[in-house]
């Protein structure tokens, strides 16, 4: 979206990510999405009196991994209580890091070469989940809310960017790159639809070169699509307000995906008073060099580096290949692609099969070995399998595993080896002498006729390119 006149957006994002630990942040309850309600709860995460929190070592390590991937400084940090009342938070305070976060001052480089600064990435605990009932009007007073505390105390890292983002598209690129990093570090599964990654956007507008305008914080952005739509809507709303002589109030706004609009949730006139104070039940956190080094040594390659490594092996750089590289990196498919390239498969073919066939059946990758992927693509490249057959053979491996050559044989694809294709073409030439004569005289359209006939005989399993080769060889 282009903004009218000299207007420019100023966006900062707060990304909350649930950490993929086995247990919660301060107790040994399972950190598991989708359990029966209130089955992963204990005195600590229910906020029962007298219970004491003990910090999860793995949560600290994942937070450090995120910080390192974002070029942050790992700093000595403390925990505070953020006090407020809401039924999904049974203690009436959330334990969070306040003035001294574990990670400070980093940056994230985006694929378009822009850099977004990271102010901090701190640890905090998630709240429970409430479901609102009512509105049925059966009995007055029947309207109520139900609370499940399975999520209460699940470890989170909140990553706060600087106000460096200037468009909804850049915000999307940032969120997407960050998501890739969170997945790569093993910190998160990146599933926005399950709420394991949640985004709040701080949006303001200004005329280029002027100081920052008043910002609004938009909540409830549950997908990258919502993020883009909400930012565009909010920037336009603020510009229209200002151009109409109004003033933007600092407030929290709620994004309604169905309405495609943001609306006031609460104003910040009464500056939020959370009465932060040090959590007396937790001691300071200051990972020493040895602990930090252990985490650093365990860090895998980040998406940017993996993208560069894969792109360097491409023989041409088309838009389609660029998109395929994105998919392959995003879904962690590059082991297959690199193996195929090592085996001499054409990069375009390897990328296409990975970004389509493998990406389309991502949950079944466990059945497909790199060797099976390479062998199938080599058979296709040699012409032993048509494109359709190669896809079928890959699909079969994804569904049930197995060896590609035997699968091709069991499906009758081996009939189409070059010898049998030769036989089929020879038979057809005898069957259609007039068409063959016209083709020999130079009527190229007849090639299509013969391909059609071959396909009919082979039930669509032949490789068109090889049929033409056969025809030309006999011309």
């Amino acid at each position: 979206m282009t903004l009218p006149g000299e207007w420019e957006m100023v966006i900062g994002l707060e990304v909350h990510t649930e950490l993929q630990t086995a247990t919660k942040m301060f107790c040994g309850c399972a950190n598991h999405f989708g359990s029966e309600p209130n089955t992963n709860v204990c005195p600590v995460c229910l906020g029962l009196p007298g219970s004491l929190p003990v910090l999860n070592e793995r949560a600290v390590e994942l937070a450090m991994a995120i910080g390192m991937a974002l070029h942050c400084t790992i700093a000595p940090s403390t925990f505070h209580r953020k006090n407020y009342f809401y039924p999904d938070m049974p203690k009436d305070f959330q334990i969070s890091q306040y003035d001294l976060p574990i990670n400070k001052g980093g940056f994230l480089d985006l694929p378009d070469a822009s850099r977004v600064s990271i102010e901090r990435a701190h640890l905090e605990e998630d709240t429970g989940k409430s479901t609102h009932l009512g509105g049925t009007g059966r009995i007055h007073g029947a309207e109520r809310s139900l609370v499940d505390y399975n999520r209460s105390g699940v470890p989170l890292v909140e990553i706060v960017s600087g106000p460096d983002i200037r468009s909804a598209a850049q915000a999307r690129a940032y969120a997407s790159e960050l998501r890739g990093i969170l997945i790569a570090t093993g910190a998160s599964d990146g599933r926005m639809e399950e709420g394991s990654m949640r985004i709040d956007a701080n949006v303001s507008v200004r005329k280029a070169g002027e100081p920052f305008g008043t910002r609004c914080e938009i909540k409830n952005l549950n997908s990258l699509r919502s993020l883009v739509r909400a930012i565009d809507f909010e920037a336009r709303r603020q510009i229209e307000l200002i151009e109409g002589g109004g003033v933007v109030r600092q407030e929290t706004r709620h994004w309604d995906e169905n309405l495609g609009a943001t609306s006031t949730m609460r104003t910040k006139e009464e500056a939020e008073d959370y009465r932060y104070f040090r959590e007396p039940d937790l001691v300071d956190l200051a990972p020493d060099d040895a602990w930090q080094q252990r985490v650093r040594d365990g860090l895998p390659k980040m998406p940017a580096e993996r993208r560069a490594l894969l792109s360097a092996r491409l023989t041409s750089s088309t838009e389609a290949q660029f998109d395929a590289v994105e998919v392959v990196i995003d879904l962690n498919l590059e082991t297959y692609v690199h193996a195929a390239l090592d085996a001499g498969v054409d990069p375009a073919l390897a990328l296409a099969r990975a970004a389509n066939e493998l990406a389309g059946d991502i949950d079944n990758l466990g059945h497909l070995s790199s060797e099976g992927f390479c062998a199938t693509l080599l058979m296709e490249q040699r012409g032993d399998l048509s494109a359709t057959q190669a896809k079928t053979v890959l699909g079969e491996q994804l569904a049930h595993g197995g060896d590609p050559a035997s699968i091709a044989a069991s499906l009758g694809f081996e009939r189409l080896s070059s010898e049998s294709l030769e036989g089929t073409v020879a038979t057809l030439i005898e069957q259609f002498p007039d068409e063959w004569a016209r083709y020999r005289e130079g009527d190229e359209k007849l090639a299509q006729f013969f391909i059609g006939q071959v396909m009919k005989v082979t039930k669509g399993q032949a490789n068109g390119k090889l049929v033409v080769e056969q025809l030309q060889a006999r011309r």
Partner: protein, 100 residues
């Protein structure tokens, strides 16, 4: 030296803590809390140059536990403690608005 505690401050803190205080209670707590804060203010008379802020009397750092699952509570037992429950969840009066 910070300014003495005012009655308005007490009313504000009470509101944040969801406490309804009578006028007499406001007066009482303003005086009592004021004394507590004054006591803390005594620190200001000391020379604390170069003393690091501490939140703990202990020199402890990095107290962590291994990320290992331990048994959770029995749900029936948990829900039995609540005034009301429905569908395995705690039932509470309808929540107005979103969490801050």
């Amino acid at each position: 030296m910070s300014s003495p505690l005012r009655r308005d401050d007490v009313a504000h803190v009470a509101k944040l803590a969801r406490l309804t205080l009578s006028s007499a209670e406001l007066d009482m707590f303003t005086e009592q809390l004021g004394q507590v804060l004054e006591h803390a203010n005594d620190m200001s008379s000391l020379n604390l140059e170069g003393v690091k802020p501490t939140a703990h009397p202990f020199e402890l750092l990095n107290v962590v536990r291994a990320d290992e699952i331990r048994a959770s509570l029995d749900r029936d037992e948990v829900l039995a403690m609540a005034p009301d429950a429905q569908d395995g969840r705690f039932a509470v009066p309808r929540i107005m608005g979103e969490a801050p």
